[in-house]
Amino acid sequence: MRVMERTFREQLFFLVLCLSVLKGDSRYIENNEITKDELYSFFNSELKREIPEELMYRRPLRCLDMVAVEGQFTFTAERPQLSCAAFFMAEPNEVISVDYDSVDIDCIGGDFITVFDGWVMKGEKFPSTHDHPLPLFERYVDYCDSGSLRKSVRSSQNVAMVFFRIHSAGSSFTLTVRKHTNPFPCNVMSQSPEGSYTMVIPQQHRNCSFSIIYPVEISISEFSLGHYNHLPKRSMPGCAESGDFVQLLGGNGIDTSKLLPITDLCIAFTGPTHMKIGCDNTVVRMVSSGKFVNRVSFSYRLLDSQELQTIKLNNVEDFCFNN
């Protein structure tokens, strides 16, 4: 009798379970339509970043232009334009890709479209030739030389630019600008005169620069070179013999190798260090031997006109005010 009751109870529970499943109380997996191929989507993060055609930002490109957004930019020559340039800029942790679309220029007639990996101003380049991974001639990519072979050019840092010359009215071209995440940014051009940034070089033998094209006050809040117990023994003042140090540079150009050093930091410390630099370009540059993980955190704000005037009057070394 008891065995029969137990068996009946088990059968009853089983029946109730089947009914609840059929009723649909169990969860079901929704089809996430954001990614097209669910199986391989996590291998390729680029899929998720593709902008739909209808949402692509479009506008005409000007002869002198600065572009900080993704989108398609079309230049149409209304008259001969012999000296044009467009600067591209992204966030510090992004790189830029420029794709050629619908190019209608006369290469044989002297037209050109050249993408440069970095910025060039008055013959000076950012990043400098010392800090960039590519040799100089590889940083210029000319459409007329390599257009059919290389339709997409990707920068090594968050800035790039394009030079172009069009002789005939009616010639045109379209550039598609996209931004991609850079997990290990090195050379960075700041978009704004105020902000904060942490530069990390993880055991790489390279030099990285953070450039601010404004006169700013810099506050370095944290600075560490390798192991916190490592204190390099120095036989002479300055950081010249240390393989890992941070430089503060200032000047009136964008080439960091031509700026003048304001100070060097090669002993780790915590606690803010403030410095007002009244130059057109202020650069925090980290030199890394590759033996350690080096890190520097800093913030910066724009100097107002009164502070600039005070610096100009008080500063004995007025190398930034000669021009």
């Binding site: 949402l55 600065m66 900080a68 957004v69 440069f116 060039v120 101003m121 008055k122 100089l136 704004s192």
Partner: protein, 143 residues
Amino acid sequence: MKLNVLLWLAALLGAVLPRSADSRPAAAPADRCLLPRLLLLHLGQELSLRMGGGSAAPVLLSSSSSAVKWALLQLTRRLLQARAEQQQDEEEEAGEKGKRSDEPPISLDLTFHLLREVLEMARAEQIAQQADSNRMIMDTFGK
């Protein structure tokens, strides 16, 4: 005997010439090989004329061996000259490539003031575009 040597040498040179031409652009081998081949043809004609001399051939061959040697020397000289010119052309091309890389790069004379102005415009455009994008997203979620 000397005829055999000559024929073997001509065959060897004929085999060498196409090999050296393979490394050159397509248009050049035709020009480069023309002179030696003309000489070879001339030598062949000379030989056939000499051979057609009949019994006087051996005497003529022996007396013409110096002419054949001179022709061979000329052929060798021309081949060496062609190779030297080829090497010179290659060096010039490499020099031109080096010059292209050494050419002053394209640049723009822009002041920092103007650069900051266009940067401000670009940042304003970025903020406006981000606002439009946010508005579109909010409208989509609100439906």
